[in-house]
Symmetry: C2
Subunit: 114 residues, 2 copies
DNA sequence: ATTATATACATAAGAAATTTATGCATACAA
DNA sequence: TTGTATGCATAAATTTCTTATGTATATAAT
């Protein structure tokens, strides 16, 4: 994940959320999407992405379909029902953590502000 | 750090920021402060905290003073000049990361909103 | 007495998530 | 034939953390 040593542990959440929005995606597509959304500031490395995808699949949160496109193999991932539930859990967990972080780091910050 | 596998790498930022606000603190005090600020949701473990403090000191960002209080030893930490600069760097880095995370996870979110 | 909890430091073994490096394979441009 | 892009994958090493353990003092509970 680029030069950021921050927020290890959010990769699963990123994958799940992107798949909630996009129905199905393949690995390389995810790396490009993240790069695009963050103006190149966050780069997901293959060494982090593929093991994460395999784990989510092993945990029953994702399913795969393999397709041939232009003589190249693509492995599409999509959310299972369990995966769809897990998106909300992970998002709530992450949001809660970020709020706690704000309470620690930003003394003037108030969670009720709009 | 409690049951949160999220945000590994933010501990240094937390330590530096708390020391910017409090002039000087000792290890146990830091764990209690974080617990208090987050209503017990984030608990910094000793096994994470002390090695982190030692590393920050070794890197020249913190200095220490040992004192006896009620027959117990306390090791007070405070920011060096280098440490004071590093607070801003780490905070900017973390804020930038959180913004990028929002761009990925919250499609309707706009960084310019007030 | 002695057990538990709180304060206060520290280190070591193990687990988890990542980076870095490497490998295979196709397509296209220089 | 060299480099870049696409597309998958795994292994070694590193970082960062959890869990467990150890030392020590003080106080409250059993």
């Amino acid at each position: 994940m680029s030069n950021n040593n921050l927020i290890k542990g959010s990769l699963q959440t990123i994958i799940l959320k992107l798949l909630e929005e996009n129905e199905r995606m393949y690995g390389y597509e995810i790396t490009q999407k993240v790069k695009e959304l963050t103006a190149g500031e966050i780069k997901i490395t293959e060494g982090a992405l593929y093991p994460a995808l395999h784990k989510l699949e092993a945990d029953g949160l994702l399913t795969t379909e393999i397709e041939q496109v232009d003589n190249r193999v693509r492995k599409y991932y999509s959310l299972t029902k369990g995966g769809q539930k897990e998106v909300d859990n992970k998002m709530a967990e992450l949001q809660g953590f970020v709020e706690n972080l704000q309470r620690i780091l930003n003394p003037t910050w108030n969670p009720g502000l709009t």
